[in-house]
């Protein structure tokens, strides 16, 4: 059983345990593949100083153990007259794959986005070769707005596209 809640500072080691191998693999996020823990934390779970004031970070934890098995960021995709569109990012523990953690966490974050007053959600850079993620987003009502050709250099597949995906809430 999963439980969803806002991330607390104490969740960072559990988040980094998920984030680090994703960063090192370099297959799904536009992060420096050698990103260290300090920069990783600034990227995913920044303090208040200088960070995006709209950012909320969630974790999916195993009920009982409180072990972090997934995490998500939710924030405004743009400011000013574009601030009604949200953006979210997701990470799921490698050993929790295939158990529906991503789908359940995404459902929670979509609900939170609606509750926060956002009227749409946009992903700016879904790696085209990340077929499982693309299929998940489509099954959750997202569509591909367009694909930027060769915008991502996949470590094994080479230049690949980045999808912009979107759905209204």
């Amino acid at each position: 059983m999963l439980r969803f809640r806002e991330a607390a500072p104490d969740d960072w080691p559990g988040i980094w345990a998920i984030m680090k191998p994703v960063a090192r693999a370099g297959e799904t996020y536009c992060w420096d593949t050698s990103i260290d823990e300090t920069a990783g934390r600034q990227e995913w779970l920044p303090g208040t100083s200088g960070s995006d004031p709209t950012l909320v970070v969630f974790v999916a934890v195993e009920a009982g153990t409180d072990r972090v098995v997934g995490t998500a960021q939710l924030h405004a995709n743009r400011g000013g007259n574009g601030a009604h569109v949200s953006n979210a990012s997701f990470l799921v523990a490698a050993d929790a794959g295939g158990r529906g953690v991503g789908r359940a966490l995404a459902g929670h974050v979509l609900d939170e986005a609606r509750a926060a007053g956002y009227t749409a959600m946009q992903f700016n850079a879904v790696v085209e070769t990340n077929e499982r993620a693309v299929a998940l987003w489509i099954s959750l009502g997202f569509s591909i707005i367009g694909t930027v050709p060769g915008a991502f250099v996949h470590p094994s597949a080479g230049p690949t596209g980045l999808h912009i995906m979107h759905r209204f809430l």
Copy 2:
């Protein structure tokens, strides 16, 4: 006659004189329309602290007077395995419109992007109603990758799309 160079701290008043009315109008950028000068500077001409290390800011100045009539930002659109795609933003003084400042500045920035090793340029949020800008980018070889529907609330036109535009360099 125009001259192009990297922006210096002393250029800020001239840049803000261009940026402030664009921000207040709220028709072309996703900035808080009430953005103050300090936040404006942080947005366009930040110091080194916490800012994007890839960012370079240019100004177009009138030869002779050194008056700033346009400015542009150039930086990596993403990090890591997406860092080969650049992003740029442009501002032209209202009283310099129609004189080709935007086109000339864009040409300069495209050259600088190539020289910096970027292999493409992407715009993430070109307001659909900003027809002059869209036409300029198309004339300079950009294409519309896709349009995010209703992603921008134009102060008079209401909900309008944001184009993602792209060209290889």
